[in-house]
Each structure stands twice: as structure tokens, then as C-alpha cells.
């Protein structure tokens, strides 16, 4: 037996995965709030879910933007926007 371990050990994998926890917003950790450790499998799953929800949000925003673009004239809108920004 060459005794060859996987090049990256299990713990290193778990450590890398735990770093993902930093990126997930707090509302993703209902159960683990406050505890610094969630299992690797949970983190992976929540990461997948989070990415999916981000994708969905981008799609919705794209829909909104395409509607808004049709409704407003970009050029006229820009002048209005500058005015409203200077005012507020």
C-alpha cells in the first residue's frame, strides 16, 4: 500500500467549506445562528440554495429593468434623475 492520502485532507476540505459560511447572509442560518460551526454538508447545501436565490433575484431584476426600460426614455430619464439626486 503506497499509503497515498488524498492530496487535500478531509480537515482542510472542511476548513475551506467553513469559510463559505462567511459569505452567506445571516438569514440563511436559522438554526446555527450564533454557533460558529455548521456541518460541511449543510454549508454546501445552503451555498447552493443561496446561489440559486441570487440567480432568481437577478432574473427578477432583469424583468423589472426591461419593463422600466420600455416605459422610460433613458435620455429624458437621466435628466430627471440628476435633478432628483441633486434635490435629495
Amino acid at each position: 500500500m503506497s499509503g497515498r492520502r488524498s492530496r487535500i485532507s478531509e480537515e482542510e476540505i472542511n476548513e475551506l467549506i467553513s469559510k463559505l459560511q462567511i459569505l452567506l447572509p445571516d438569514n440563511y442560518h436559522h438554526r446555527h445562528r450564533g454557533s460558529s460551526r455548521a456541518s460541511a454538508a449543510t454549508l454546501l447545501k445552503e451555498t447552493c440554495n443561496y446561489i440559486k436565490s441570487l440567480h432568481k433575484e437577478v432574473s427578477e431584476l432583469s424583468g423589472q429593468l426591461s419593463e422600466l426600460m420600455a416605459a422610460t426614455d433613458f435620455n429624458g430619464a437621466q435628466a430627471e434623475v440628476l435633478q432628483s439626486i441633486f434635490r435629495s
Partner: protein, 218 residues
């Protein structure tokens, strides 16, 4: 119809847009993301000292800077105007999505796999594409498909595969590289959402003030 807007105006517009968003929006979500972003940036700095991938957390922090978001917003708005002038019929949400993703990939400056994958999948030929391809070929060495397969628990295997499918261009990536791509991709997506929300808010506020022609009755 005169569509020309000079770049400084656009830049000013976008930067004002960001300031307004940061300062005032009472919406829970943007505020939460801003404070969450700051907190996460601190934790990211702590984490970086303990690992060799400190470059990845600084890259992640880059997506949270205002300058980056401003840069992205202006590129996105320019792209949207191009889309709009190119198609006389109203732009579909898909066109907007693709423009947004492309702009995001460009903002990544080709340093990550997912951004290169997005750029490659768009059909616009560009010098950047061929340069990127050449560079990847030069540095790519065939991964030794280890006979002693790295033992990942099967539960992780499956989720890893799902994750790899979600991030563009990362299907076959081994886990450590995949995680690095994932963290950059998530930070980029968060910025994309922030920027697009801000633009949508501004545009909808504009169309409400009646300066623009009223939207057609539904």
C-alpha cells in the same frame, strides 16, 4: 432622438446613485447587505491570515467596494442602452440578464474561471477571448486523475457536483478550486443584485415623477 450622454455625466449619475442608496434607503435589504458586507469583510480579513488563499478574500472584498459597484453600474447602463437602441421592440428580460452577466464577467477582469466561461459563451468575438484562451492553454497541465481517488464522503460529492453546475464553467473542478470560484462568484452576484436594484429603484422613481412619458396602461 439624441442618445448621447457624455461619460462624465454618466459617472456622476452613477456615483450619486450609489451615495443615495447607501445613505438613505430605508429598505431593510440594502442596509442589511451593507452592514453585513462590512462585517463580513472584517471576518474575511481574519480568515485570510490562516490560509494560503488570502488572495481570494481580498478579491471578494473587492466586489464590495463602492468603486467596483459604480464601475459595474455604469457599464451595465451603457450595455442596456445599447441593447435598447439595437432592438426597436422592447428588450426582453433575457437580454437584460445576459447583458448584466456579461458586464459582471468583464468586471472580473478574466481572473476567475466563471467569468471567463461567461465571456466565452457570449458570441461576440473579442481579443480578450483569444488572449484568455491562450493563457489558459499555456498554464494548463492535465490533472493527474488519481488512481487512489480522493475520498470524499458521498454526501459531499453530490452537493459538490450541484454546486459545480451552478457556477459557470466549474463543472469538473476539484473542490478547493471550486470553493474559491464559488466565493468570488457569490460576492460578484451580490454586487450585481445591489447594482441592479439601485438602478431599478432610480428608474422607477424617475418614471413616477412624471418627467418621462407615462407607462402605457396595462
Amino acid at each position: 432622438m439624441n442618445l448621447t450622454v457624455c461619460d462624465e455625466e454618466m459617472d456622476g449619475f452613477v456615483s450619486r446613485l450609489l451615495i443615495r442608496w447607501r445613505v438613505g434607503m430605508a429598505d431593510g435589504k440594502p442596509a442589511e447587505m451593507e452592514s453585513g458586507g462590512e462585517r463580513k469583510r472584517k471576518r474575511g480579513v481574519e480568515a485570510s491570515s490562516s490560509s494560503s488563499s488570502c488572495s481570494s478574500s481580498s478579491a471578494v472584498a473587492k466586489w464590495r467596494t463602492e468603486g467596483e459597484q459604480r464601475n459595474y453600474s455604469s457599464k451595465l447602463i451603457a450595455a442596456l442602452r445599447r441593447v435598447r437602441s439595437a432592438t426597436p421592440s422592447p428588450a426582453g428580460s433575457r437580454a437584460v440578464r445576459e447583458a448584466a452577466d456579461r458586464a459582471l464577467a468583464v468586471a472580473a477582469r478574466g481572473r476567475t474561471r466563471w467569468s471567463r466561461a461567461i465571456l466565452l459563451s457570449s458570441k461576440i468575438p473579442s481579443l480578450k477571448r483569444s488572449r484568455v484562451l491562450l493563457r489558459r492553454r499555456a498554464t494548463f497541465r492535465p490533472k493527474p486523475v488519481a488512481a487512489g481517488r480522493s475520498s470524499r464522503p458521498p454526501a459531499l460529492e453530490k452537493k459538490t457536483r450541484v454546486l459545480g453546475r451552478l457556477v459557470p464553467g466549474c463543472r469538473k473542478l476539484p473542490l478547493p478550486s471550486l470553493l474559491e470560484e464559488v466565493s468570488d462568484y457569490i460576492a460578484a452576484l451580490q454586487m450585481q443584485v445591489r447594482a441592479m436594484s439601485a438602478i431599478a429603484q432610480i428608474l422607477s422613481a424617475t418614471s413616477d415623477t412624471g418627467g418621462a412619458p407615462p407607462p402605457p396602461p396595462m
